[in-house]
């Protein structure tokens, strides 16, 4: 069983995101990149499957930001091989372009299962997993919270999330692409000492890919919502703010 995980770097929203002078793109200098959270869960789910079935886990990431650290972390967590994909592009590609590129990259390799996060915060033109499955003519299911490989290795049984706490159990023939929402357990922690060791001794492979730009969606303008639009902002010292808040509740008879 060979599992490929596609792990993407996205802006760390804690650091904020600024719009550039053109007004049509984000300013790359304003961004600190981190691993997309659903992709972190996709990696965790792959590692859980490896522990249960001795599957081989390979992680692919586009060259961007601190991706080398992300890939070393994946190695330290237990991935068998990590690959940094170099595109020669100045800015991260849209999902259609990335999906076409990963499709040509993965087509020649014998993967049973491709796991990726069900979505990323910078998705504008769909999600990578569904697009990739479409280009590779493979089955796809997204919003997955659990994956089990059948004993003969021919299918997986997955749990797909629905509103209201419901989930559907589906059986998917392999090879397939799955969009992971959450792994069965929180992504594992890597001790710093282990990570340091892997950064010295581990190998991050590099691979060139030549993306064929897809017809991009034409972004006319990016804008930020007006700060605090809609909310009346309470201000003052913490004591004052707490008193004002409790006054609001009291006026509305929300206190017992």
């Amino acid at each position: 069983m060979n599992i490929a995980v596609l792990a993407k770097q996205v802006p760390d929203l804690v650091e904020g995101v600024e719009i550039d002078a053109s007004g049509k793109a984000v300013d790359p200098t304003s961004i600190r990149y981190i691993l997309s959270e659903p992709d972190d869960h996709a990696l965790e789910e792959a590692l859980l499957l490896k522990e249960r079935t001795q599957a081989r886990v390979e992680v692919f990431s586009l060259e961007l930001g601190e991706v080398r650290d992300t890939l070393c972390t994946a190695l330290a967590k237990g991935a068998d091989r990590v690959v940094m994909v170099r595109t020669g592009l100045d800015t991260p590609p849209d999902n259609h372009t990335a999906a076409k590129m990963f499709a040509s990259l993965l087509r020649g390799l014998a993967f049973d299962l491709v796991l990726t996060g069900v979505r990323a915060i910078d998705d504008l033109d769909g999600s990578l997993g569904g697009l990739l499955a479409g280009y590779l003519s493979l089955p796809y299911v997204g919003l997955i919270r659990k994956v089990e490989i059948s004993s003969d290795g021919g299918t997986v049984v997955v749990e797909k999330e629905y509103p209201g706490g419901y989930a559907a159990e589906l059986e998917v023939r392999l090879p397939a692409v799955l969009g992971i929402q959450a792994a069965e357990q929180p992504p594992r922690y890597v001790p710093v000492s282990r990570l340091r060791q892997v950064m010295k001794t581990g190998t991050v492979e590099e691979q060139m890919a030549s993306p064929t730009p897809a017809e991009p969606v034409g972004v006319e303008r990016l804008f930020k919502p007006e700060e605090g639009a809609g909310a009346a902002m309470l201000s003052g010292s913490p004591d004052e703010v707490a008193r004002q808040s409790v006054n609001l509740l009291s006026e509305r008879r929300l206190l017992r």
Binding site: L138, L170, G228
Partner: protein, 325 residues
């Protein structure tokens, strides 16, 4: 030229879901301006009874077959692809839901049509059709000018009023020919898994104290619980809190969690990502405390406080206790 609007109908447990009516309402506004009409794709089995609820559409493109009883992305994408080819739509509207999100990307790649995710508005602007999409957790909006090609659009829940699409009637029913659909399904539905029982039902509790990533660790959750206790409410959380197992799954608010409409929703360290807001927008009073003045939660809250929640939380609890004597 493609000038119609096609909506994918979603239904769950025998009922057409709200998102369908939200999309139909928008479709009724867009289609006349495009010089076209509204179509709706209805896929499932034994769903003939749902047609009368879809009176907002002129045409229902129906596929009623046992293998479509429950949603599987492959089969639904194949049939929806045929419906799209028949309906000549300028835009195809899907919900940004468990069903719609799978179909959006799969179909976009399979039939080579552009797609847009997380849409919050669609309007005519300078003679063109512009879709607005929420990105970066709701911190940035992108306006996209649609081309003349059919565009697939996934719309976030709660963006358009459902009432505008809730029209009963007798639309024309056109059967979707399915000779082209692969006979061997790659994906099969096995069963529904019910929500886990046993915990409090947060949809029935009038006062909710919600914690987000800002609560930082499971160790801090009892501090929010103390506040919920003096208020006579319960604690709930956003997706990251549930994924970290700081709160049980039953307490999740938002997409694939619960939709709640309490009298008070006190959001502590919740950024307000679209997936969360979807589940709490309907609360009567929303008070948000967040350190980040740009947190999108302040766009949906009625009252906001920019502060470290750990500075305010104990003071709130103490102040309420004092007033309660």
């Amino acid at each position: 030229m493609a000038n119609n609007v096609l909506v994918l109908a979603e239904h769950f447990q025998g009922h057409v879901t709200d998102i369908t009516f939200e999309l139909l309402g928008k479709a009724r506004e867009l289609a006349p301006a495009l010089g076209g009409s509204v179509g709706v794709a209805l896929l499932g089995h034994d769903v003939g009874g749902l047609v009368s609820a879809l009176g907002a559409a002129a045409v229902v493109y129906a596929a009623d077959r046992p293998e479509l009883r429950e949603f599987t992305p492959d089969a639904y994408a194949a049939v929806l692809g045929i419906a799209v080819a028949h309906a000549s739509p300028r835009v195809v509207l899907l919900g940004s839901t468990s069903v719609g999100l799978d179909l959006l990307s799969l179909l976009s790649a399979r039939v080579n049509l552009p797609c847009i995710d997380n849409c919050t508005a669609i309007k005519f602007q300078d003679g063109g059709l512009v879709a607005t999409s929420q990105i970066y957790g709701g911190k940035v909006f992108a306006e996209v000018l649609l081309t003349q090609r059919t565009t697939l659009i996934a719309v976030a829940s709660g963006m358009f009023p459902a009432e505008a699409g809730r029209v009963s009637g007798k639309p024309q029913v056109v059967q979707i020919p399915h000779a082209l659909v692969a006979p061997e399904p790659q994906t099969s539905f096995r069963r529904w898994i019910e929500p886990p029982p046993g915990d409090v039902d947060i949809t029935k509790i009038p006062i909710l104290v919600a914690v987000g990533r800002g609560i930082q660790s499971a160790d801090n959750v009892p501090r929010a619980e103390a506040l919920a206790e003096v208020l006579g409410g319960a604690v709930c959380g956003s997706r990251p809190v549930i994924d970290q197992a700081w709160l049980p799954k039953t307490r999740q608010v938002g997409k694939s969690g619960m939709t709640v409409k309490p009298k008070l929703y006190l959001a502590l360290g919740v950024s307000g990502a679209p997936e969360h807001v979807e589940g709490m927008r309907g609360a009567e009073l929303i008070v948000a405390i967040n350190q980040d003045p740009q947190a999108p939660i302040f766009s949906v809250a009625h009252y906001g406080v920019v502060a470290d929640l750990f500075d305010i939380l104990p003071l709130l609890t103490a102040e309420i206790k004092t007033r309660q004597g």
